[in-house]
Symmetry: C2
Subunit: 235 residues, 2 copies
């Protein structure tokens, strides 16, 4: 409990940022970043936690607590310097560096993702587009040509890719996932409606359109049932 702790080096570092920002907070940092960027574009120099909270759509106490995990970047009685805080959050997330990304599966969705401008604007760069259909290899999508899935390993090594996006049909997803992991990719964003198994050291997140719609349908049905009940009681 005294002096040397764990495998920390001797150099003093910011204790607060050292270990463990709660996952819920991490998920909100990009939202704050977006709000700060919007304020910055409007030439707002400083903003209170309340201002920011409104822009981000969260409770101000929650926002202050979230920011406190990063460090003490605010000034009591004043608020937060918009550009300074924006930089600090960007640095914390890792957006001060460039992240090469490969997209696997260039169907309708892969196409859309390849052309998505939100990639480049936030430090993500599409390094390659891959598809298992040999007939499509060479075809251009925007600036980039489609490469063969066989070249995955070489591309990942050559461009130091650590993030992969899966936009294949569900049936192919696990196989592609395994290949990505074997090639050295350690973060995966999965758009295929399938459960993917990965080793512990690999992070995986899924985006599932169909699930989102089903959740909406559940609530929608509930609203309709409530109305029907009121009607029945009245009649």
């Amino acid at each position: 409990m005294t002096s040397v702790g764990g495998r920390r080096s001797g150099r003093a570092r910011d204790e607060r940022a050292e270990r463990g920002i709660p996952e819920a907070t991490v998920a909100r940092l990009p939202v704050y970043l977006r709000a700060l960027t919007a304020l910055s574009d409007l030439d707002v120099a400083t903003a209170s936690s309340e201002d920011l909270a409104v822009s981000a759509g969260v409770n101000s106490a929650k926002l202050r607590k979230d920011l406190s995990y990063l460090g003490t970047y605010g000034t009591r009685g004043v608020g937060y310097d918009v550009n300074y805080l924006r930089y600090q959050i960007a640095r914390e997330i890792g957006l001060t560096q460039d992240w090469p990304v490969v997209i696997v599966g260039i169907g309708n969705l892969g196409h859309a993702l390849a052309n998505y401008s939100g990639f480049a604007s936030r430090g993500f760069r599409v390094a390659a587009l891959l598809d298992s259909d040999r007939a499509r290899v060479g075809e251009k999508v925007g600036e980039l040509p489609i490469s063969s899935l066989d070249d995955l390993e070489e591309i990942v090594r050559a461009s130091s890719v650590s993030i992969g996006v899966i936009a294949t049909p569900a049936a192919a997803a696990q196989d592609v996932c395994d290949q990505l992991v074997a090639a050295g990719v350690s973060s995966i964003l999965n758009f295929a409606p399938a459960l993917l198994a990965v080793p512990d050291h690999v992070d995986i997140r899924k985006v599932d359109l169909s699930i989102e719609l089903q959740i909406l349908a559940y609530h929608e049905q509930r609203k309709a049932a409530g109305l029907a009940e009121i009607k029945a009681d009245a009649g």
Copy 2:
């Protein structure tokens, strides 16, 4: 506390399903449904909570508790009848009926969504594609022609649409959202990277690619930092 409760009608109903399935459970029901469908396709007649939990990628106790909110559909010592449970979950979510959906913003993403086969296979039907660009009105995407955003209200009324999907640029999202709400849509799935304000009675869910990537980047950076630290300590 006795006899007549709230605005319930006199008819007895299943108390369990009557009110309030936890939101976390609702979000998992579609996952269970997918797992059950997969098992059904493999002609598996019954499955234990453990089997299902593995297929769905969750803890079996959690799965049992989730299912218990719907009713008592399992048999102790045996497990769950796959097809029966599948039907019950589908009914609970509201997938026994057909949900017409409108998609607004037919750019790259809107195109991909319009052609997404996962829609139809789960009871969602694309009723119309809308775009504000008059030059594109009439253009066909798959089977459907693009309609003008001006016709939104009529389309919503004619087809009893209650779910809308926003796939426009961020700048247009709030305006489109307001129009959807005004037309009578009460559930919205938003793909635009923008915070949308809606009345209380409207449900909204967002899917944000850029945020997902940023979350992955944070963890990726963390892994890299950890490695660097170990290297530095060793050297």
